[in-house]
Structures are given as structure tokens and as C-alpha cells.
């Protein structure tokens, strides 16, 4: 199960023996994961299995108790979250975390801050470089918004948007960070079936367009089974299965984790 079909591709993300204790509770224990360039991998598991904790450790919000995380060959454990983001890992959040009182456009433009192309001095003195780069990044941000069909509402305040649009703004904002690895935490939560289909197409599309590697947490089996190439299943902080969507669907351990013992087939 450890060998992937495109084995000669370099691994973008390699996690070894990742463990996180909260007090005496092991939220994640001995978690391993390898992501190759361009893969779309799902991370699933029942509530409280430790999926989001893994995300928080990859992005530096939590410091792991032990274990290593290699991103393009560099160990990123102990780096500050903003340093990790600047290396090329962007994420969305399970409970949407937009900047609520700012416009949609500003939400996306904030993601340009580390690579805006001008310095603070340029901004204070309003040099030509400031005007050029500022215009450029605004246009780019609008391009992102237009991919997500949000360009018409660029001037709306984020907190007033409907749920589905907020989710799309969050993905657009993560893409504006210019990532190589995108972590999506339950992107389909609270979406209706039509929006879910759109989202699946969108994820496929941005992966091709921006040459991304994507790691996805999702509860909607339809999404996970529909788009992921590989799936890792967690329960109680540990990996209980890995494989293709088909293998996972038939794995008795997974079925047990989701539905409990004694059930013979998945719903």
C-alpha cells in the first residue's frame, strides 16, 4: 500500500511518525503520509479522529509532540505558520475563517501580502512600483474571483455572503497564497448536492490549472470517492487504512470505524 503508481515522482509532502498529545490524550499517534507531486489525496475518518489536528500540525498552528514533516525535502516542524505558508502550503478551514468585515476582493488581496512585489517603503512613498504591482495583484485577485464566479460581488463584505460563496472565497484566498500544496478542510460541508458537483469540478480544475497537490478532509463520501486518487482513513488518531477509493469502500476496518461492529456492508 505504500508504493504509489507514480513512484518516481518526488514527494511533495512526507510525514513520518507524527504524534500530538493534548495533555494525556493522543490526538494523533504515529501518523504517516506521503504525497507525490500532483496527487489528490483524501483524509477521512469519524469525528474526532484527528484529521484537523494533522492539518494544524502541517500548517504550523500546532507543534507536534514528535515526528517529522518534510515539505519538498525540508523539515518544517518548528517553523512559524506564516513561514510555512510562504514555503507553499495553503489551507482552508473547517469552520470558515474569512476576514468577516472586509470585502471579498480584500480577503483575496491579503493573501498576496508575502509576495506582493513591493516593500513597505514603496507603499509609504507611493513609488511607481507600488502602483504597478498593486494594480497587477488586484487584477490577479479578480482573475481568481472570476474562476470562482465571484468577480461580480468583489465589493461585498465577506460576512454578508451566503455559505457556499464564503467557501469559494476561502478557496480563492488559499489559491492566492500561490501554494504548491493545498489543504482543504471539509470544503463541501454545508453545501447542497448541486454545489457539491460544482465543487468537485472546481477542485479538479484548479489542480490542473495551478499544478497543485491537494490533501482533502471530507465527510461527504460522494466527494471523497468521486475525486480522490488515494484515501487515508484515520480513527482515534491512528491510520487504519490506506488505498484507492474502491479498496477503502470494501475495507472492513473502515466500515467498522464508521458504522460500528457487526455491520456487513457499507451503506
Amino acid at each position: 500500500m505504500e508504493t504509489k503508481p507514480n513512484g518516481n515522482e518526488p514527494s511533495v509532502l512526507e510525514i513520518r511518525g507524527l504524534t500530538k498529545f493534548f495533555g494525556g490524550l493522543a490526538a494523533v499517534r504515529n501518523f504517516d503520509l506521503t504525497l507525490k507531486q500532483g496527487e489528490l489525496v483524501g483524509l477521512i475518518g469519524p469525528n474526532g479522529a484527528g484529521k484537523t489536528t494533522v492539518f494544524n500540525m502541517i500548517t504550523g498552528l500546532y507543534v507536534p509532540t514528535s515526528g517529522e514533516i518534510y515539505f519538498n525535502g525540508t523539515n518544517i516542524v518548528g517553523l512559524e505558520p506564516h513561514e510555512i505558508t510562504r514555503m507553499g502550503i495553503a489551507r482552508t478551514f473547517q469552520n470558515i475563517r474569512l476576514f468577516p468585515n472586509l470585502t471579498v476582493l480584500d480577503n483575496v488581496r491579503i493573501a498576496y501580502h508575502p509576495h506582493c512585489g513591493y516593500t513597505l517603503t514603496d507603499g509609504l512613498l507611493r513609488t511607481p512600483r507600488f502602483s504597478v504591482k498593486e494594480k497587477e495583484l488586484t487584477e490577479q485577485a479578480l482573475d481568481f474571483l472570476s474562476i470562482f464566479q465571484l468577480d461580480r460581488i468583489y465589493n461585498e463584505v465577506a460576512k454578508n455572503l451566503p455559505y457556499g460563496e464564503q467557501r469559494r472565497v476561502e478557496i480563492a484566498r488559499a489559491l492566492a497564497c500561490n501554494p504548491k500544496l493545498l489543504l482543504l478542510d471539509e470544503p463541501a460541508a454545508g453545501m447542497n448536492p448541486r454545489e457539491i458537483i460544482e465543487l468537485m469540478d472546481l477542485i479538479h480544475f484548479i489542480r490542473e490549472r495551478f499544478d497543485l497537490t491537494i490533501l482533502l478532509i471530507e465527510h461527504q463520501m460522494r466527494v471523497v470517492m468521486g475525486i480522490c486518487e488515494w484515501i487515508t482513513v484515520m480513527d482515534f488518531g491512528q491510520v487504519i487504512a490506506r488505498g484507492t477509493p474502491k479498496e477503502i469502500q470494501e475495507n472492513p476496518l473502515v466500515i467498522e470505524a464508521y458504522l460500528g461492529k457487526g455491520v456487513t456492508h457499507a451503506a
Binding site: F99, D122, I197
Partner: protein, 452 residues
Amino acid sequence: MELGFLLGSLVKIIAIMAYLYGLMWVLARPSIWIKIAGLIGAFAVVQLALTDINGFRLLNNFDNGLLFQACAMTMVALGLNLIYGFNGQFSLGQWGFYGIGAYAAADITYRWINGDARGLLVLGFGALLGTLVLIGINKWLQRFRGIPVLSSFTLYLIGALIAGVTAVYLGNQLNPLITPFLGTAGEPGPLNTPAAQQVIYFLSVILAGIFAAQISFLFGLPVLTLGSDYFGIATLGFTIVVNTLMVNSDTILPFPEMKGGRGMIGIPKLTTWFSAFFFMMLVIIIMRNLIHSSTGRSLVAVREDEVAAKAMGIDVAGAKLFAFVVGSFFAGLGGAVYAHYIGFLSPGTFDFLAGFNPLIIVVFGGLGSMTGTITATFGWIFFLEGMLRVLLSQMGTEAPTWRFVLYPITLLLLMLIRPQGLLGSVEWGFLKGPEFTPVPRSHPEPAHESAA
């Protein structure tokens, strides 16, 4: 009845609002020459109103004082708006930095006119060396991962102390070279002509701002790691500490010329309308350019959601510290301008209760609104003083007491009616930031074939 005076105050406030609006409007014009002409015009109009022409002056001494006070307060309040309104860090320390700026600048010019250049030399070298050392340590620390804040703070503190001691040493060594040119208070030397004093005054204002910024860096580094409420209490403590040091400046601090609780007298009154206007516009322009740049957006992002800001690649701790230092710099400038207008500094002015004034102005004008802060400052000062004059004539000595009954009630009513502040998030002309017109886009890349 002083109804006429009250009406006069009202007219003045309206005129000032129109003046500010016009200034912001003309600065928003695209041509640089129109902007410069607008600035000069705005300066000249008030200068004219303050000048005695055939015994007639549009603005009397009283208004003149209010105007300078409002300019100084605008700088302080804008600094606080940067810290609290834009960056979301509830701070009560602004008044302390205001006091530091006032005393630092006053000390420079007071010593200078009395034939002692050490104030300028020590603070000048301190600003230079201290900034270099702090930046150097900062660059060096960036090589390491995960240094605890208190460790880096200790390093910064040691560096700052070494820089400070060096500055004092250099100041004492170089002082005899300059003193012959200063003369005494009775017989001013060649470096004490009115023009030279203005230059020293401008330098002292900037050095006072830098000094306040350096202190705020050292203070903010450990304290900004506290949560927002705890940070507020810590900064309140800072204001009280600064006030206590002022009261005892001649006993536990080696500054006999500050005269402790009796108040520092004899500060040269060097503030002119030009300097007050210059520094106020400097602060407004720096702040506006900062807010409408990528760094400004990152500051606002920290206010909105720290975790999301981190995930967007923003150095949250750095952004907070940056806003705090810049805000304190503005406060230091404001204090220096105030000190040279009033000519007398008393620790009572920098009492922590008075420290709520900028906070009231910022909240009243609207958090995160520069226009609100500027207009609220001018309105606040003219309204309060106008009220005092009216009440004094009606009630005699009890008036000040009544003022602080009516004033909170007014505030309370306005907060109930407009909780978002007087102007909400409205910005006038220049303060709005660069505008752009988005090109309408077609959707050439339909990602949703199957959605149909």
C-alpha cells in the same frame, strides 16, 4: 447669556469640518501639483486667520491654542486608531507614549536654550545606535527557529541598554564641543538664534517620536503576546509607570530640570502653525499610505482573524508589534508638538484617566476610520472647550464639574444612537485610498461543465 459664544463654537466646528473635507478632497486630485498647491493653500488660509491684520484676527489666542492642541491630539488619536482600530489591539498605553514624547522633546530644547547640548546629543545618538542595534539583533535572530519571546526580549533589552549607555557617554564627551556656540539663556549664542531653535525643535520632535517608538518596541515585544484584554491592562500599567516616573523625575530619575511633580516650566514655545500642520499632515499621509498598502491590509487581517492571517502567510506577532511601534511613534510626535505649544508640562496632564481621551476620540469617531478620528479630535476639543466657556459664565467655578457630567452623557447618547462611531467606516477623498475600476470579465474557463 453666552448663546452667541456657543453659536460661534458651532460655526467654528462646522468651518473646521469643511476645511478638513476640502483638504482631503484636494489631496485626492490626481495631479501632484494640485496636491502641493492644496497643501500650501490649506496652510496659508489658517496662517492668515491667525495673523493680526490691522488689529483684526479671525482666530484669537484661545482658538489658536485649541487648534494646536487638536493637531497634537490628532497625531495621538491616529496612532491609537492604528493600534486599536486597524490592528485590533486594545491599548491604554498611548497616553504614556504621548508623555514620553512630550518630556523627551521638551528636555532637548530646554537644555539647548540653556546652553546644554546633551539632550539632543544623547537622544540623537540613542535614536541612531538604538535603532541600528535593534534592527541588527532582529536580523540576526531571524536565522534561528522557535526562539522564546522572553529570550529575544532579553537580547533586545541588553542591546538597547548598551546603545543607551554608549549614547550617554558620547553625548557627555561631545557636549563641550558644542556648548561654546550655545551661549546662555541670557546671551544666546550663534546656535541659539530663532531659526536655529526651530531646526532643533523639528529635530527634537522627530527624536521624541523615535524614542517613544523604541520604548514601545521593547515594551510591546513581550506584552503583545498577551491576549487582547490582558494587553489592555498591561498598557494601562505602562501609562501609570510613566506617570509615576514623571512625578519623581527629579528624585529617582536624574532630570532635575523636569522638576518632578511641580511640573516642567520654561520650555520654549516653539510650536508654530507651520510645524503643527506639517507634523499632522506627515502623520496623516504616512498613515493613509500605510493603511492602503499590502502591509496595511495585513494589519487589518490580524484584527479580523489571527489564525486565518497566519494561514495567509502574515507574521501576526510582527504585524502587531509594527502597528504598536508606529502608533507610539505618532504619539511621541504629538507629545512633542504639544509640549512646545503649551510651554509647561505637568505630570497631571499625563495621568492615566486623561489617557482615556484618545480612546474616547477613536471609538467616537469610528474604529478603523481615519476621517472619523480626525474630525472627532477637532470636534471634541472645540466642543469641550466651548462648553467650558459657556458653563463657566453661567455657573462659575462649578463649571468644570458639570462639564464632566454633561460630556459623558453626550457620549453615551451618541454611542447608543451610533454604535459604529460618528462616521462609521466612511473615508473622505484622500483617505479613501487608490481607486480602480475592475474590467468586467467573461468566464473563459468554465470549470463546471457537469454542473449543468
